[in-house]
């Protein structure tokens, strides 16, 4: 049962997760498992995503037309869905990234004011 606390965590994760997916897809189309692995690898395993939550996020991004789907073949030689960044998605990523960076800088200033003062 989703308690209130849990819900907040998912919501916090949602925007971040979207960004991470877009960032991953910048390197080229990938299927679900590959995206999950890439995110884990790139974040040095700090962001432990419950892999299942990737899928609702992917479908949300499709709905917003930031990514698209195409059929492909997986490492197993089975038919698989490959997710690909769209032009809109690319723009969104640039926008989101700069927003994130601003946000991260702000947080950093608050958390480590001494470094700023140097």
């Amino acid at each position: 049962m989703s308690t209130k606390k849990e819900k907040e965590r998912i919501e916090l994760l949602q925007g971040t997760l979207d960004l991470l997916i877009l960032r991953t897809l910048l390197l080229g189309p990938a299927h679900g498992h590959a995206i999950a692995k890439a995110i884990e690898f790139n974040s040095d395993d700090v962001l432990q995503v419950e892999q299942g939550s990737l899928y609702p996020a992917l479908h949300r991004l499709i709905k917003r037309r930031w990514i698209s789907v195409e059929e492909g073949t997986s490492e197993n030689n089975r038919r698989a869905k490959f997710y690909k960044l769209t032009a809109r998605g690319r723009k969104q990523l640039a926008h989101e990234t700069s927003k994130w960076e601003k946000f991260a800088r702000a947080i950093a200033r608050i958390l480590r004011p001494t470094e700023e003062r140097e």
Partner: protein, 895 residues
């Protein structure tokens, strides 16, 4: 499920399987055993069902699909518990059906647009006494003429009378027909066209007598068999001969009480500036100029009225004018009554909803385990609430459908008990407003009354429920909510019962009122003599005078002889207008008392009514002669003219003197003679059993009447016969009819009935109100009883463990019975207390229509409270009995 959604879901399934498969392979490559690998992959992926559910929520298409699924699920769930479902749907159907019934009456009168072209520009113009600005009064032809001449806001303003009855005859037959008088342009302003013939629009014709009549289509078909040759034929109406000009289109029914038989067109006073007002008894209908709003029209008419007050203070002082939409003007008074009923049935619905909310709460409790399982399997809380809400929505909509079906009969029933003065509402077909109203109620109530149970059911601790082994001990707060609901039901039912009780009380008091006469063993018949043999108004020398011809007196003499010769008849007499008969048109002359100055005109005292009677009328009717004598055989044309007065006239005219021997004269004929007062009789209730102020009345002998009268009143050709007989049978009634028809074949004979019946009919409005309120209160009581039964049963089943323990420890069945009944008693006492308080607020609204009983009648309150306590105990007895016979072994083993 829709194919698209199915395919999407299959794809997602495959994708997730593939994902996990890849993860497993990787894990194996890292050196795990296949089992460990799968376990680790699953752990990392998370709850698969939940993920699928979340993805599906992302799809827009899914929302609708979920709704369909929820509805199906709800239907399946409801089918699994048919007892609950049937009780809930029936309860709701009754509550909603009652509301739909009353609403369709309101819709028919107030919401559906009137069937006239330009109906949005049609307004009603009425007057009001500035002391009672909320009441609407009739207007006069002169008022309409004044307003037509002076206003700037109306394209047209015309008059149309309220329904009236006239005698109508043509060669060989006489009849009493319903009529509405109107101006030349009234019908065309309403957008009505003649079906046959034409109505002359030349306003000059208006000056010289009525130019003609228009027949209603229905009357034409019924009486003339649709013969087009009727146009131009002369007919005799009341006191003049007139031609048929036109036949109107079918279906014109301005007041909703059925189309009149004929319209008398034109011939009404158009005297502008005379300052004399003829009686106010008609309605004014006007058409706004284009672009003029009602508020502007009201402002314009206020100014016109101010000028009139200055110019003719006698006629207009204290009179305001009110412009309102025609629909409001025609039916506003009836809709006030309907809104009262709507409030009443609203309470009934409230009780029904509370019952169903109770049932839903119980159901939520009994489904804790099922819901717990679903939560454990990954159902989100919002999803659960939505599902439970869908369930209550389905339930309430099913109730709404049932209500719609019930309302078909409800509407018929409502019209059956509606008195004739209530506009008909049954003919209006079902329309979108009614559907919207009904399903609006369903949606609102299902959310309001389904939300709390849904929230409660979804707030569910998985571990506890599943571990709890189905031991359902609804929380304390849960029980408290249920108790509140029962208390609310009892309180609402009490208010409705008190209202119904007061109305029934009023009705019985009205029926037991002494009408001032003895109606037992009396038959009555109404006769209207029609034709220029009896009355005419064409004296060229004196066009304003109406002449009553000798055959009237001849008829009066002969009819009594013939009736008294009938077998079984003990005595017969007549009067112009029988007490308590509707639509009476008394002669209301001005009166002068010899040796006194005429009294200053005062608008507050009721008019003097004059009736002519046959000798023996007071004896036959059982009206007490208090002093002096009644009218008798001595009072012939040549004897000195006399008059008998009633108590009210004696009190009003001679407060400090002895009226006997005084001489008065009436001013309604040049041939009147001074009359000496020879007797005083008891007051009778002339206009209604609940009437509080009695009119002054005077009675004269039919032989001592002037032949020429200046104000035509049909009283002179209308006779109400009263016949005393101890053996009233249908045969006697038929004989009476035949005797009258033989003597005057061209007269209209009607209203042959017993006087007791007439008395009983005059209580019609109160009977209508008590029947409706009684039915609704009974339904409320029944629903409340069902609710109490349900809650007590549930409470007993919940406490079965506790009760079993008590009994194992030595409690006797009687003590257990007492335990449960005490709980019910507490609830009912609290409910009754709140209800009594609430009825103190509600019943003063009824005080206008109560008679002989106060709005806070202690006896009614006490009786109704007792009834409710009794019903509560009765409804709780079965559950209590069940509790008292719990087998302690079983109840405890259940643990």
């Amino acid at each position: 499920m829709k194919p698209i959604a199915k395919r999407l879901l299959k794809d997602l399934d495959g994708e997730i399987r593939e994902h996990i498969e890849l993860a497993v392979q990787e894990n194996i490559a890292r050196g795990m055993t296949p089992e460990e690998a799968r376990h680790a992959a699953m752990l990392k992926f998370g709850n698969v069902t939940r993920v699928k559910e979340d993805v599906r929520e992302v799809w827009t298409a899914v929302w609708l699909e979920q709704l369909v699924q929820d509805v199906r699920f709800a239907l399946r769930g409801l089918r699994r518990t048919p007892g609950f479902t049937i009780v809930a749907i029936l309860t709701l159907a009754i509550g909603i059906g009652a509301n739909t019934t009353i609403f369709s009456a309101i819709n028919a009168l107030m919401l559906r647009p009137l069937p006239y072209p330009d109906q949005d520009r049609l307004v009603s113009v009425s007057v009001y006494n500035s002391k009672y600005p909320r009441e609407r009064g009739s207007v006069s032809w002169t008022d309409v003429a004044h307003w037509a001449a002076a206003n700037q806001v109306f394209e047209e303003i015309e008059g149309i009378s309220r329904p009236d009855i006239v005698a109508m005859s043509s060669a060989g037959w006489g009849e009493r027909v319903g009529v509405q008088h109107c101006n030349l342009h009234t019908l065309s302003m309403l957008g009505l066209k003649p079906f046959l013939g034409t109505i002359p629009m030349d306003s000059r014709a208006e000056a010289v007598g009525p130019p003609g009549v228009a027949l209603s289509y229905e009357f034409w078909q019924h009486h003339y068999g649709g013969d087009p040759k009727v146009l131009g034929q002369p007919i005799f109406v009341d006191n003049y001969s007139i031609r048929v000009l036109a036949v109107m289109d079918p279906g014109f029914d301005l007041l909703g009480t059925g189309p009149p038989d004929i319209f008398i067109i034109g011939g009404n006073p158009r005297a502008v500036g005379s300052g004399v007002t003829d009686p106010r008894w008609i309605m004014a209908v006007a058409k706004l100029k284009r672009g003029v709003s009602i508020a502007q029209a009201q402002a314009g008419m206020d100014i016109v009225q101010q000028h009139l007050v200055q110019e003719f203070p006698e006629a207009y002082k204290g009179l305001g004018v009110k412009v309102e939409p025609l629909q409001r003007g025609l039916f506003g008074w009836a809709s006030d009554l309907l809104y009262l009923f709507l409030a009443v049935v609203g309470f009934v619905l409230l009780i029904a909803c509370v019952n169903v909310a109770n049932l839903l709460l119980v159901r939520a409790d009994s489904r804790r385990k099922e819901i717990g399982v679903r939560v454990a399997l990954g159902a989100g809380r919002t999803r659960l609430i939505r599902q439970l809400l869908t369930e209550s929505l389905v339930l309430f909509c099913a109730g709404g459908l049932g209500g719609l079906l019930l309302s078909i009969w409800g509407i018929k029933l409502f019209n059956l008990v509606s008195p004739s003065w209530m506009p008909h509402t049954a003919k209006t077909p079902m329309d979108w407003r009614i559907l919207l109203f009904t399903f609006g109620i369903c949606i609102v109530t299902s959310i309001v009354f389904g939300l709390a149970p849904a929230f409660r059911a979804s707030k569910n601790d998985v571990n506890e429920t599943l571990r709890g082994e189905g031991r359902t001990t609804g929380s304390v707060s849960h029980n408290r909510v249920r108790n509140y609901l029962v208390i609310a039901e009892i309180a609402i039912a009490l208010v409705l019962l008190v209202c119904a009780g007061l109305m029934i009380n009023t009705l019985t008091r009205i029926l037991r009122t002494d009408p001032g006469f003895d109606g037992d063993h009396l038959v009555t018949a109404q006769v209207r003599l029609a034709g220029d043999k009896y009355v005419s108004s064409n004296d060229p020398a004196n066009p304003d005078l109406t002449i009553i011809h000798p055959p009237v007196e001849l008829f009066c003499r002969q009819i009594l002889e013939r009736l008294e010769a009938l077998p079984g008849v003990e005595a017969a007499a007549f009067v112009d207008w029988l007490p308590l008969v509707d639509a009476s048109q008394h002669e209301r002359p001005g009166v002068r008392i010899a040796g006194q100055a005429p009294p200053p005109p005062s608008g507050d005292t009721p008019d003097l009514l004059v009736d002519s009677v046959s000798p023996g009328y007071f004896r036959v009717m059982g009206i007490l002669v208090l002093r002096g004598r009644g009218i008798d055989e001595r009072d012939t044309e040549s004897a000195p003219w006399v008059v008998v007065i009633n108590e009210s006239m004696a009190r009003q005219f001679w407060p400090n003197q002895d009226p006997l021997g005084q001489v008065v004269s009436f001013d309604n004929s040049p041939d009147e003679r001074p009359r000496q007062i020879v007797g005083i009789v008891r007051d009778v209730k002339q206009f209604g059993l609940a009437q509080r102020v009695t009119s002054p009345q005077a009675f004269v002998a039919y032989t001592q009447l002037p032949t020429r009268i200046s104000d035509y009143s049909e009283a002179r050709v209308h006779k109400s016969l009263v016949i005393r007989s101890h053996f009233i049978s249908n045969e006697l009634l038929e004989n009476v009819r035949k005797t009258i028809s033989e003597l005057a074949p061209d007269s209209a004979v009607f209203g042959i009935t017993t006087v007791q019946q007439t008395v009983s009919e005059s209580a019609g409005p109160w009977r209508f109100l008590s029947q409706l309120l009684g039915v609704f209160a009974a339904v409320a009581l029944l629903l409340a009883a069902i609710g109490i039964y349900g809650v007590m049963s549930y409470s007993v089943s919940q406490r079965s463990h506790e009760i079993g323990l008590r009994m194992a420890l030595g409690a006797q069945p009687g003590q257990v019975l007492g335990l449960v009944l005490r709980q019910a008693m507490m609830l009912s006492l609290v409910g009754v207390a709140i209800g009594v308080a609430a009825s103190f607020l509600a019943t003063p609204l009824l005080s206008d229509i109560l008679y002989g009983v106060k709005s806070h009648d202690a006896l009614t309150l006490a009786l109704v409270s007792l009834v409710l306590v009794a019903v509560t105990l009765l409804a709780s007895y079965m559950p209590a009995h069940r509790a008292a016979h719990i087998d302690p072994m079983k109840a405890l083993r259940h643990e």
